[in-house]
Structure formats: C-alpha cells, structure tokens
Amino acid sequence: MDGEEGTRIDEEARAQGISREELLKRAAVAGLAIAGAGGLARSATAAIDASFPKRGGTFRLGVPGGSAKDIIDGQYIVTTPDIARMMTGWETLVVNDGQFKLRFDGLAEEVSPNEAADQWTIRVRHGIEFHNGKTLGAADVRYSLQRLINPKVGLGGQALLASIDPARIKKLDKRTVRLFLKQPDGTILDALTLYTNTIVPVGYSPTGAGKANPNVGTGAYKLQSFTPGQQSVHVRNPNYWRSGQPFFDKVVIIDFPDDTARVNALLGGQVDAITDVPPALIPLISNHSGTKVLESPGAAWPPICMRVDQAPFNDVRVRQAFRLIANRPQMVQQAFSGHGRIGNDVYSPFDEAYDTSLPQRHQDIDRAKSLLKAAGQEGLTVDLQTTAAALGMNEGAQVFAQQAKAAGVKVNVKVLDGGTFYGNQYLSWTFSTDFWNPKSYLSQVAAGSAPNSPYNETHWPDSKHQNFLSLYNKAKKTADRKKRFAIEHQMQKMEYDAGGYIIWGFNNRLDGYSSKVKGLKTGYKSTLALNQFGNGYRTIWFG
C-alpha cells in the first residue's frame, strides 16, 4: 500500500513536469541536509537571545509554493510546504547543529560502527513516545529504515542509504538494532542526519491517517488538521521527550504561492514568520517596524551546467574557458542582490571535506579566449536553457550571457516554463541552469555527479575521468574521516579542473519574522529555513 502510493506521487510529479516544489523534493530525496559535515573550525557567531523562553501562543508561518499535491508524510515531501510540516512532528536519529557539527541530539543515544564499518549499531533513547502513546523501540527503527529504502515505497532513501540491507536489520533488544550492510559504508551517520530520514512507528502510512495507522511521529507537535494547498494546524505534544519544550500551543503553516503576498502577510501581521524572502523585497521587511530579516550563510547553488559528453563542452578547454568567463562577484551582485557569496566550481562548501585550498577562480577573458581558440571554438554560439525554478537561475544565466560577449561567445538565454524545462528533455540539455540545496560532498556526488545519479545534468564524469567513480566508492567505504577527506579532496580537484558545472555563487538563506518571535539565531549554517524551522518549532517562542 505504501509502495503504490509513494510511486504514484512520484509518477504524477514526472507526468506533470517538475515544478519548483518537485525540484525541492528531488533535492530532498537525494539528501537535502548537509549530511556528514562536521563543524567548520570557525567559532560560533550565534547570538543567543537573552530573554527567557515563555510558553503559549499560536505560531503562524507563511511558506512558499504549495498546491493540492501537498502531503504530510513523516519521511517524504513533494512540495516546499511539506518540509515545514514534516518538521513539526518527525525527528531524526542524529542531527547537525547550527555549525554543522554532528550531534547525538536526536532520537538515538548511540549510533556506532564496527571497525570495518560494515555493521552499525543504533540504540534509541529510553521513554520516547509517539503522538499516539506508543513507545519508540527497535522495531520502529527497523520499520523506518526499511520504509525509507524500499524502492516500492519510492521515498528515495535508496541513494543515501543504499548500503543498508533491509533484510538484515537485527533487533538486539527493545531499543537496539544492528545493521549488517551490503558493503562497508562510513557515511551512514551522516545520512541519518538528513531531515527526511526520520523515525516513524511500525506500520506507518500517511494515507492511513485514520485509526490503524495514525499520522504520528515523535516530534514536538501533533497533527490536528490539514488542507492541502492551504494550511495545516499542529498542536503541542504534551508528552514531548525534551523537558520544557516546545513553547507554542499551536503551530499553523499556511501556503503562500505568491512571494509578494507572503511578504505582505508578514508586514500586515497575518503571520508571525515567513520563509524564502526574495532579496529584492528585503527592504520592505527590514524597514518595517516590528519585522526583521533573518539572513543565514548560504550553501544553495544555482549552477550553470555544461554536458561533458556533448559538443562543444566535450572539449575540456571549452568548459575551462566558460568557467573563466564568469565574473563571479558581479553575478552574486546582480543575481542575488549581493546576498550570497562567490563559488569556486566545487559544491558543498559547508562540508568539512570541502577543499578550501583550491585557488579561487576569477574572470580571465584573455585566457578564456585562448582556450576557446585552442579548442577551435572562437565565436561560439550556444543556447542556455533556463527556468525560474529558483533564485539565481534566470538571473545568473542572463548575467553570464552578458559577460560571455567579452570573450566573443554568444549565449542565447532561453527562458522556458517549468513544465518544459523539467519535462522530457531535463537532464539532456547541452547547456542549462539548475538548482541544488546544500548537501554534503559525497551525498551530492551520489545525487548529481555519478553515472547512476538520478539528476546528473552534466553527465560527469567524462571518459577521461572515470577513476572519479573508484575514488567515490573508496571514499564511501572509508570510515576514518581524515583519510576520507583526502580522497574527497582528490575528487574535488578533478571537478575543479575539468567538471561540467559553473558554480558561480551560493545564495544566502533569507527569512522574515516578527520581532516578537525569539530564539532565532544569526550565523546559523542552516540547510532549512528559519534555523531549521526552529529545530522543529521547539527552540523558538514569543517574547
């Protein structure tokens, strides 16, 4: 039953072309959170709100997108609002903190590998209850992992948790399971931080929201009502396992497909917070008394993608030339209104494995020209396909096209509607834009840079870089972080030198909130909006 419904949603999304929501979904499917990133060595800049947390109130959140396709499933999302709703009631075994340091601050008190990293033991905390009163135990963990990786259910956990053998998850005692992997995997712990890899009760199925299979999790709020495309109401879970939390009596999540309407709702006081503020509208919120903008360092990226297996980009010199054409600071200025930072053609900058020693690439029109000349591609004309699925896609394409003129390259920007862009030809465009949410390096490779990746726009690696894959497999098996990072650096160098992405910038996360909302932090390396939705709406309150 689960299987049918999961696949159906997936097929529907495909049939209708992938819109922004679906895109977010697929990013999530492949691992949206930065799994596996240890904290960067930088010190926390979090400004702790001094006021004392208070109980009470109804927190109303405006989220972008949403449609009749909205769902609430503890382990699966289709549209953007689904993320905000999932965070109310479902929790992961381990979590990343605001500096992307892995913390045993989730449902598990222990997740540990054996020496070969081919067996992992998971023990959940004592005395945690689901919303229906059932106590969390080993059987729930086993069921949850099986549901996540079951291809018939189609939740897409396969990409990150592929090494888990669903038939060999052994219950050791009431709270402990042991996973016997198909092959050694040092990244299991990181994968378990992904916010969709949550724990649900045995037999969980979201459409069975009635008696037999209630739509419950372990999170701070219980689902009260839900109208897809409109809003959902969540009430405080009185038996929540963390003492004192949460603070709100109720959380209401409202869909606002229109950006301006969402901003106006915040300004007018109809909602207490909104996610995804367009950079252009920041002054409206910051100049308005009683509302503030929450800006967090970004790691989402709208790359320009060159297919490494198709002319003219099958010649590495053309790819290198195009990367040198990009004036990255200007792109960040014009496309993000300056709310972001420049990229260096390598993804996952939050990841501890990100190689900061690679020299920053700058615009070099002369070298770009000579590379194009050497490749016999002077005066090249190419079509750049793009769509307005995320901030920076159309804008970045437009700015790049302008910059390319200096190198004698004519870039024709083709703005397509989402249905066409993400339709049949998606992933076969020769030259296109796309967007990705932050992920750890290896998760990103699994999602978009390997031959069996679900969303490999660039068709990397090309024939000359096939050892990229053996490095990837080696890295996955290496449990020792230092050794693994060294391998990941080798992979990053290959992509830095010859990859098919132009990663020109990372946009900051921008949310808006009423100043009566307390507990939000600055400098939080957040993969999700509003500091991970107040860590599941439990670390924010009305002051």
Binding site: T260, A280, L281, Q334, V413, K414, V415, D417
Partner: protein
C-alpha cells in the same frame, strides 16, 4: 451608395481606379477632424516615436548592469534599475520596437489573410462560403490567448511563431467583417460586367471588390492593431516573446513586478506605454469608424 460603386461598368478598370481611391482619402480627412482621432494620433505618434528613436537617446546599453537590482532613481540611473540591475530608462527606450514591430506584423498577416478569406467566401456564393466562415467560427470559438499558448508550448518561444499565431487569431474577425462588407458588393452590376468580359477571379476580387471595402478594412485594421498590441505584450509578459537580456515592454513588466513596491518605475513605465499605445490606436479606430459611418449615411459631398 457611393460614386465609385456606381462607376459605369464599361469604363476600363484602369480609368476607374483614381476615382475609387477617393473614399479612403475622404474617410481619413473626415476622421482627422474628430477630436478623438487627433488625441489618438498624438498618443500613437509619441509612443511610436519613443519606440523607434528611443534607443538613440538611451543613456546605457539595454543589457548593461549599472547598479544593484531595484536601485532607486539617481543621477546615473534616472528611473532606477530593474530586477537585475539594468537601467530602467534605457531598457524602456529600447523595449518598444519589438512590441510595435511584432504587433504591426501580426496585424498585417491577420489583415491580408482575413481579407483574402472573407473576399473568397463572399465571392464564391457556394458551399465554400459556408465552409470558410464556419471554419473561422471554429477558430473564433477558442480564446486567442489559449491558442497562442498552445502553439508556443508545442513549438517553443519563437518570435515568428508569436507573430504568426497572433496574426492567425486576428484573421477570423477580419474575415467576417470583410465578407459582410463584400457580400453585397459582389452582386453589383460592375462585378457581373467584369465577369462577363472574362476577367480572372483574382482580378475581380482585387480590382473590383477590394477597393470598395478599403474603408471598412482600414477601421478594422486599427482595431485589430489595438488587439494585437495587447496580445503581444501579454504573451511577452508571460515569457513567450522576446527572451532576456533583450528589452521588451511586456517582458519588463514581468521581470520587475516583484519590485513594484520598492522600485515601481520598471513596471509603471512599460504599463503606461502599452496602455497609452492601445488607447491611441483604439481612438484612431473609433474615429475612423465614426467617419466611415458618417460617409455611409450622408454620402459624399466633398
């Protein structure tokens, strides 16, 4: 009804022609005396002038980045910047040519095609008349914007396609009017005389019938132009017209609408331009049609 229609049938077509031109000249002269036509003319001239000559006065290139997105007006950017930091004034001055050019082209296609179909239908006096006109009714039954969207979604955003589709959706209306106007002309003696001396159908339609409906067509042309401007601008707004970084009024509205509350010029300017242009062509059309009605009623005195 009019002098030209009553022209002696024996007179060769060549000799009759100069006199047949007169109603059009008369129509224009009469329409020019109406206040609405003059206002319309001024509006259209100003905007067409802006569209054609504007680029020569633009302070920046249309795709140049001059400042941060949605910057407020300053000395460097008189009307501020757009969604990506381009100069609003420069893009406005550059952006009229496409709207105007495409609309005129689309109207021309619609007019030629519609007039041809209408004339053939009226002249055929057979089943062909019904087939053609019911075919036109079928096309009319679809909202033109839907037809345009279907075509663009199937083939992709191509400029020629846009012009063609808008032209095609214009044609049925022109065809109906043309047929209506010519159906009684084709019964006239001079047409039958032309038939009797063995003139080709094409010659009869173009040489005998068409000159008698030019006034009607002129009125129709200005009304259809109004409609085409609206449709072309609408399709550009939806992203099916010119592609960025090219400047286009319809596209500008779409690009900058998010910043309307912050930096309104990027939206207000093209909106005003398109509105005034359509009002202008509409007023001219109205003036022409009133003048034509007057001619019909009062005959020709001048």
């Amino acid at each position: 009804m009019s002098g030209s229609v009553a022209a002696p049938t024996a007179v060769p077509a060549g000799a009759a022609r100069p006199r047949r031109q007169r109603p059009v000249v008369l129509l224009l002269r009469r329409a020019g005396r109406l206040g609405r036509t003059r206002v319309g003319l001024v509006l259209v001239l100003v905007l067409v002038g802006t569209a054609i000559f504007g680029p020569f006065f633009a302070p920046h290139a249309p795709s140049e980045f001059v400042s941060l997105p949605y910057a407020h007006p300053s000395s460097a950017t008189l009307l501020g910047t757009d969604h990506i930091g381009g100069d609003v004034l420069s893009r406005f001055l550059w952006g009229g040519r496409s709207v105007l050019g495409l609309s005129v082209a689309a109207t021309a296609i619609g007019l030629v095609l519609g007039a041809a179909i209408g004339l053939v239908a009226a002249y055929s006096r057979s089943i062909l008349d019904d087939v053609l006109m019911r075919g036109m009714d079928v096309v009319l039954a679809f909202p033109s914007i839907v037809l345009a969207l279907v075509a663009v979604a199937t083939v992709g955003p191509k400029i020629w396609l846009l012009v063609l589709v808008v032209g095609l959706t214009t044609a049925p209306r022109v065809a109906r009017v043309t047929r209506g106007a010519s159906v009684e002309i084709v019964e006239r003696d001079f047409v039958q005389a032309a038939e009797a001396i063995g003139e080709s159908r094409f010659k009869i339609l173009v040489g005998e019938v068409l000159p008698n409906i030019t006034s009607t067509l002129l009125v129709e042309a200005s009304l259809r132009l109004t409609y085409s401007i609206g449709l072309i601008a609408g399709l550009s707004f939806l992203g099916f017209g010119l592609q960025p970084p090219d400047a286009d009024w319809g596209l500008m509205i779409n690009e900058n609408r998010q910043g309307l509350t912050i930096q309104p010029w990027g939206v207000v300017l093209p909106v005003l331009a398109i509105a005034l242009l359509t009002i202008g062509t509409s007023l001219i059309g109205d003036g022409l049609s009133r003048a034509a009605a007057g001619i019909d009623r009062g005959g020709i005195e001048e």
